[in-house]
Symmetry: C2
Subunit: 356 residues, 2 copies
């Protein structure tokens, strides 16, 4: 293999691949008539990126991802040459030579093929939706259902659902093209991380066992989790008796301040008044706090208690918006929605806590 | 105690005190005719800040530092009232009350007095000098000499010296006023952290057992370490036979790139040529690298090896400058100085490593 490439785009592609794969992976570089393809696999996912290069000699090598990414990132020259020299891949610039060992390709499965593309979404909308939804899945749970995001496509809409048993987030966003329906449970952390890198229009890919995202020369595939039946139908929401409209940011700021004084469980009570919400933290050795906030209240005066952290996680998805809290009596979820939802429509269910 | 104060400056003072003290400390607040004084002690240091307040009732209370700082930082109101209500200090704003428990003052030594001021330096110059010098001290060493910064004042100059046995940094900066001489060994981490907060002209305070810095209403005191004899005289520098002048930034960038390919000890060799430096990393399974850099060379061709990390630490103190490396044969220190030193004059000694 022997090629010359522009340093910045090559560095971006290799860095993206190294970031998307786990640190110790090898990176497969293939130079051919279609330019340079960079890719790899780890236990969770497969990544494939294509980029431009002036290829002098075709070839395919496997090298350690980390040192290659690090070297390219630190180079100050505009052009860089990658050339196989004996048992090394040499990265060459004027005045410098950095030589990486070639790894054995015997056990490497090769560059992954992508499952078929079934539809497209806007990358920024997907990243926004996943910031809240993927954050709602459990980091660690015996049931895969609570560590994944259920990705469902309907004719014109993509629906993302996640829950950790104590809260559930559901986001819908428009599909940019119609295609085969998808219904897959995708590892939440991996999905959020991938969406964060995505730019522009993002392709959704899927078959029975794999799910993938693609954009501008980048393709990431993952195995899907054993499907559960994660759905809004699991949450009771027919007994709403109290509705409160309030600014999400003002409520979040108050929760943050009053939360400093909450007990070990960090539980706050939202006392619903005639035209206000009164937040109060449970008394304890650490002091107590209360704060009153203007709100539009209709219906009853059901006053639930919540974990401060869960309320903050929920409200973060509605930054800058006015939200409606649909409150149910007893140990039933509070439903949070934007009063005027945008393209990405988020519904957040938070389970209340027993007050002290 | 009952007072009203502007929220921002009060928040800054309380945050500074909380940051300068360890997290779990109590904060002593004293309201009197001189306004509000905030202070405290932890095992390492004493802190005292003064600020303006409209005092309605004099008084002195001890409260937990963390929650008070956190609450003030998050308040959006311009004015805040601090008032003792029973066993609480209430922080009050329109629509909100945050009440902290009063801590027992029985065992608290009270607000610290400062040792006498002996001279003054520019705060920015002190922070710049300490960034390099304090970073050179060991984080953990059985001998206090290697965990402290020796602070010495002469008639017109402050000298700061630190070493971790493998390298030594010495910085000198001008004193803004003449006074009693100081010679104290001060804990390096604490000193650097304090200097980072300092603004404007900084007072140097000291007596036989304590050292202190003061600026704009803030005073920080610490006990001094048992003095050692940390001095440049400990480092041999009379056998320099090779001198190299080079850009500090270009050398640091090359060390960073070639360092990726260094062995486990991260050792690099600086091969001195006629008008260049050639950096080479020791060969190993992880590959190898070399880079050539223009340099002005005089004297011999002594080519030492160094830990990449130590070279980078050293060069960081000379960012944007051209440096002179005075190289000695054998296992003697390389001396690094700016070719054209500014107000803060830094001398850095790095011990070489055995090449592989």
């Amino acid at each position: 293999m022997d090629l010359t490439a522009a340093t910045r785009p090559l560095s971006s592609a290799v860095s993206a691949a190294a970031r998307l794969l786990t640190a110790r992976s090898g990176l497969l570089l293939r130079a051919g008539k279609e330019g340079l393809t960079v890719g790899g696999n780890d236990s969770e996912r497969a990544v494939r990126l294509t980029g431009e290069a002036m290829v002098h000699t075709d070839g395919e090598v496997l090298v350690p991802a980390g040192p290659l990414a690090e070297t390219l990132r630190m180079l100050e020259d505009d052009l860089v040459r990658l050339v196989v020299e004996g048992s090394r891949l040499a990265v060459r610039v004027e005045g410098g030579r950095y030589a990486l060992p070639l790894l054995s390709r015997e056990l490497h499965p090769g560059l992954p093929e992508m499952p078929p593309k079934v539809s497209e979404v806007d990358g920024a909308a997907l990243a926004t939706a996943l910031r809240t939804v993927a954050g709602t899945a459990a980091k660690d749970d015996a049931l895969p259902m609570f560590t994944g995001v259920r990705v469902q496509s309907f004719s014109r809409e993509l629906r993302l659902t996640a829950s950790d048993r104590y809260r559930m987030a559901v986001a819908t966003l428009p599909l940019l093209s119609e295609g085969e329906p998808i219904d897959a449970l995708v590892p939440a952390g991996l999905l959020a991380e991938t969406a964060k890198q995505a730019r522009g229009t993002v392709g959704l890919h899927g078959d029975r066992t794999r799910f993938g995202l693609s954009w501008a020369g980048v393709a990431v595939t993952t195995a899907v989790l054993d499907a559960g039946f994660l759905s809004e139908k699991l949450v009771e929401s027919s007994t709403v008796d109290t509705t409160v409209e309030v600014s999400a940011d003002a409520l979040a700021a108050a929760v943050r301040r009053v939360g400093v004084y909450a007990d070990d469980r960090r539980v706050l009570t939202l006392e619903v008044g005639d035209a206000h919400l009164r937040l109060a933290s449970a008394k304890q050795n650490t002091g107590e706090a209360e704060e009153t906030l203007k709100a539009e209240v209709s219906g009853g005066r059901t006053s639930p208690s919540f974990q401060a952290r869960y309320l903050l996680d929920a409200l973060q998805g509605f930054a800058g918006e006015r939200v409606r809290l649909d409150i149910q009596p007893g140990m039933r979820a509070c439903v949070i929605r934007a009063v005027e939802p945008g393209d990405v429509a988020l519904t957040y269910y938070v389970m209340p806590m027993l007050p002290r």
